[in-house]
Amino acid sequence: MSELTKLTIGEARDGMAKGAFTAVELTQAHLTAMEKARALNAYITETPDLALSRAEASQVRIQSGKAGSMEGIPVGIKDLFCTEGVKTTAGSKILGDFVPPYESFVSRKLKDAGAVMLGKTNLDEFAMGSSNETSASGSCVSPWTRSGDDTKLVPGGSSGGSASAVAARIAMAATGTDTGGSIRQPAAFCGIVGLKPTYGRCSRWGIVAFASSLDQAGPMTRTVGDAAIMLRAMAGHDPMDSTSAPVEVPNFEAALTGDIRGLKIGLPKEYRPEGLDPEIAALWDRGAEMLRDAGAEVVEVSLPHTKYALATYYIIAPAEASSNLARYDGVRYGLRVDGNSLDDMYRKTRAAGFGEEVRRRILVGTYALSAGYYDAYYLKAQKVRALIAEDFKTAFKTVDAILTPTTPTAAFGLGEEVNDPVTMYLNDVFTVPTSLAGLPGLSVPVGLSSTGLPLGLQLVGRYFDEETVLNVGSVLEKAAGFSALPKGLEG
């Protein structure tokens, strides 16, 4: 592995500023590593020529003292973000050879800050999944394996390609999107940092929509400090997204003081159900101890409606998805399968274009919104969602952040959970409540399982208080000192 691919964003930024290496050398090191790591299937589309030309432009800006905050940093962009002139698939066959004529707000902001796109990363189809196995481009694989066992493991999902790429050092950082855990769960599985910002912090404009009241873009990086740098470059108000919040974007990096003395951290008692893996429970206890040692006060809190969060999510998300995905009709873009009438063309196109899990969710969502069932399902779920959000509101009257496990288990093997949708859904049990409430959630790698796989803890904060979440996260990161690397990347 090249020394250059090991660097953090902060280190690379300083190295280029000092002239220790150029932006072109940095990008080239990543392109070379990408070629060698193609077995991971982390990228759906690689854009080496575009990357080198952007790196050259970055080098010119660095030398003329006009470097942006992400200048020359090689990043992967999840293939859910529309990128002008570069094929965008959403991991689905239905988008065909769709080449967006515009750039998403977030990827444009990153580009404007100088980031160099290496390619488009793999994902579950339309971001629906927790293992990256529903991608029309094939499963992405984690660079991690269990000790003494070569079974191929999932990177988590839906932002599996981004997580795998960052962990395998074939992207310095990557964008993800999170609807119910799609940034945090793969980050935990791959031993990296993943931040789902507050809903409204990053514009959804130009991101292929899944569930609009939940979708949020965020950074996936190797350190908390890098997440702070990248979030600042991604965030900001956008009039093109009516739910984008007109709030100021703070300098998140400056918030990383490492001082959490006097802060109150809550541990929700409902996140310790009977049957919680003792290894996960022990990791959580260790995390709480680290924060206590750093001067925080750790207290128990209650989020009484936690057990209903997943069921609520699996009404709201499919309902919104069924509505959002109505646009794929074979008329304006993407796949078309001819039929003998307009309706027949719609039905054949959609049957051929959507994979099993997407079809399942569209059907569940259609049912939940259909006449006679709307009140029993969708309206009921929206009411329970209000109670879940209220639980957090009450908890945040007494605590400054909440600490939980990110996932109930370590990464599992390819094909191990695909046969039962509900088992797969349980992966998101600790991340979905935060999504429903719209709060920021950060996953930090804290330890290894007995089988040698990364495990993460999640920090949840108040609305638009990513600063506290990141600061507490940086303390956890330092105390945990997670330094394990996937096999083949050590040394």
Partner: protein, 95 residues
């Protein structure tokens, strides 16, 4: 709630997705499994609770009613599976 094949077929029509006849039974089972699991929400007392329709506590922004975008038909049509004379084309809908 257990869905039968007829109900699944009706949902598929509403969703405009063809489902193969030999997949119908299995799909009815999968959807019933998901819906049965979701039924647990019935336990929650939501009397007097207002539905949460948005996380963002924002009033929608107003702007002047004028055209702010457009004028690039070629870009709009660039990804069309079929087009003619600057329009999207679809199978005939009127006899």
């Amino acid at each position: 709630m257990a869905l039968d094949k007829t109900t699944v077929a009706n949902i598929a029509v509403l969703a405009r997705i063809d489902v193969e006849e030999d997949r119908m039974e299995a799909l009815a089972g999968e959807l019933s499994g998901i819906l049965n699991w979701i039924e647990q929400l019935g336990e929650v007392n939501t009397d007097g609770v207002a539905p949460m329709t948005s996380v963002a506590d924002l009033a929608l922004a107003w702007r002047e009613d004028k055209v702010t975008d457009g004028g690039y038909q070629d870009r709009v049509l660039a990804n069309a599976p079929e087009q003619q004379d600057g329009c999207f084309t679809v199978p005939k809908v009127m006899e």
